[in-house]
Symmetry: none
Subunit: 200 residues, 4 copies
Amino acid sequence: MPHGPDGGTARRILTGAVSCFFEQGYHATSMREIAARAQIQPASVYHWFSSKETMLLTVMQGFQDALTAAAVAAHEAHSAPLDRLAAMVRAHVTLHVQHRKEALISDTEIRALSPASRRQIVAGRDRYQRLFRETIEDGCARGAFRCADVSVATNAILVQCTGVASWYRPRGRLSLQEVADVHADLVCRSLDAEPPSKPA
Amino acid sequence: MPHGPDGGTARRILTGAVSCFFEQGYHATSMREIAARAQIQPASVYHWFSSKETMLLTVMQGFQDALTAAAVAAHEAHSAPLDRLAAMVRAHVTLHVQHRKEALISDTEIRALSPASRRQIVAGRDRYQRLFRETIEDGCARGAFRCADVSVATNAILVQCTGVASWYRPRGRLSLQEVADVHADLVCRSLDAEPPSKPA
Amino acid sequence: MPHGPDGGTARRILTGAVSCFFEQGYHATSMREIAARAQIQPASVYHWFSSKETMLLTVMQGFQDALTAAAVAAHEAHSAPLDRLAAMVRAHVTLHVQHRKEALISDTEIRALSPASRRQIVAGRDRYQRLFRETIEDGCARGAFRCADVSVATNAILVQCTGVASWYRPRGRLSLQEVADVHADLVCRSLDAEPPSKPA
Amino acid sequence: MPHGPDGGTARRILTGAVSCFFEQGYHATSMREIAARAQIQPASVYHWFSSKETMLLTVMQGFQDALTAAAVAAHEAHSAPLDRLAAMVRAHVTLHVQHRKEALISDTEIRALSPASRRQIVAGRDRYQRLFRETIEDGCARGAFRCADVSVATNAILVQCTGVASWYRPRGRLSLQEVADVHADLVCRSLDAEPPSKPA
DNA sequence: AATGAATGAGCGTTCATTCAT
DNA sequence: GATGAATGAACGCTCATTCAT
């Protein structure tokens, strides 16, 4: 994948593709449409991406990398289970709101990937979920959390925080900060812990 | 839509379509594939459904009707906010597990509907969500629940319970009953209420 | 591959395809061109043939089958090496002239087949060549023929008789019968045998 | 067509093109493939050859020139019809084996040339065939050869000797010298002449 | 109630080629 | 002497759908 000094063209193509995938879905988006949005010819897209699927994979991998990096940073920044999980939840919600389109694409288009790409993305997703499960497990072991089933709780929490991308409207009543805080709060309460203190 | 004495053929077609839409998505599913699963010719499908989109609408409307009927019944069966919401959550989770495929299709393929059909489905979905929001609002007003933002809480709760369809595996460790109970529990705790008593 | 009572449409398509392949080569022929010759839409071709390659394989296999059947019949009709080989040569030349296009396609487009199809055709071709080699070998053993190298002779003879398809013009000076006879004559003389008697 | 001090790049490109055309055919070979084999970019090929067709024409013309020169030399080196034809056959076979790829390309890709180029190549081919026909005619007139039809014989002989390129394997049982001799032998015998003496 | 045959539109992708640098 | 970027045209093929039977 070639790129100029600023990666301009490839980025412009990808941005348009993200919008298309988000609005209509991967399979309902044609290469001609992506090309038109980037103001180039369909054939020119192939100078930057070897296939439509490559574009999807690039989007999903990029978002997954950002998510994982943020979760790891949040994890390492705190040692108390409550603060740690709250920070991770805030990071998850924040990224899902800031990159709504990529988040929803990552959530719904895994089927569209080729088997090899799918394996790669699923493996990364599993690693990410494990970060959360282990944090919750550790909190239960240290008495900070209480829950009937760690796996169910992990799934329920992640699904809830991911879901923000599907209903949050940036022009809405709540700021991103507030939504993130509310979710940190909901999550901790559902684990029978006192709501966490808000960071400055 | 014609139908024989038992509605057999139409149902067989629709069942196959549901599996296809679930496994690959609406746009990645071809009429030929649906026909093949029903062991008829592509042209014959049109004897029962006037278009591919009609099949999608039928599936989504059917699931939405079932969901709404169950929520109304749960609402009417109880008057205390806690029991009422718990019953509604249990019904929601139960139907989403029992009809995983229809649930996931309803959740992800709204974009694929024509504008008219989409309006119809979105209106029904809004009515359904209102049932939950009003129940939570009422609970807060009567002092049974406590939450920072009713709208956010409603969205977060519904997204969490809907999400069960995406990760619950029937062959897993927990029974459907248990997953429904855990979610009723999580929801009530996140609203600062004592976990509800389990029904017999 | 469906077909009506007379195989009309499929045959019409194939005839046009044969002409295209013959005139321009397989890779220079487009499905649109084949469809236009058959006076149908490009998509309709796929009702009869699942791919362009399938059409090529059908043509080659059909010609190979005809060739083999004729060679076996000629072989069985005679027991003297001279008469036997002469009959086989006449059959080979006759079919190559009567089906010039199919002959030339079979001769030059093997590379265009998929590996699996290619194996199938090559195997059939080898069987056919073996029929000739064994006939010549037997003739040498029985003292009817004399030649420096049976394999080279077989190849040279077959290539010579196949080549008729590339230069024979139906409107030319010689009749098909005469060309076939001349080649039977050439072949036998090149094996140091008396020219064969002509059949009535 | 520019060229450096050694003509290196142009030759390297052409060699790769010959291999591609030989292995897959002209139309199945892309400029990108030719460029990749020469380890340059597709656009760079156009610095040396103005089009894909020019490359094909260059290959065919080069082989035809070599063939013609060799045939003329063989013709002039002998005066007896038998020795003369034998020498011409040996030259033809030798060049077809030594330049298998160019020979096969010349034989099968004439259709791919533009009308103007095709006319040029066909004219040269006709001149070459005339050399053989006149030699055989002269041999018949002088009583050295006997055949039913000079034109048919010429075509059959040339097709047979050209065919060597399609089946001869350099690693095979016979040396190039031997194959050339066998063919000179076959040709003379088929013209009812005593096999020619072998040259030192 | 069902289907074989057909179709127009559109798909993802590749092509030979151009041109400013 | 070489190339990165671009392009218009065309490729083989699949699509949802129609319709006479």
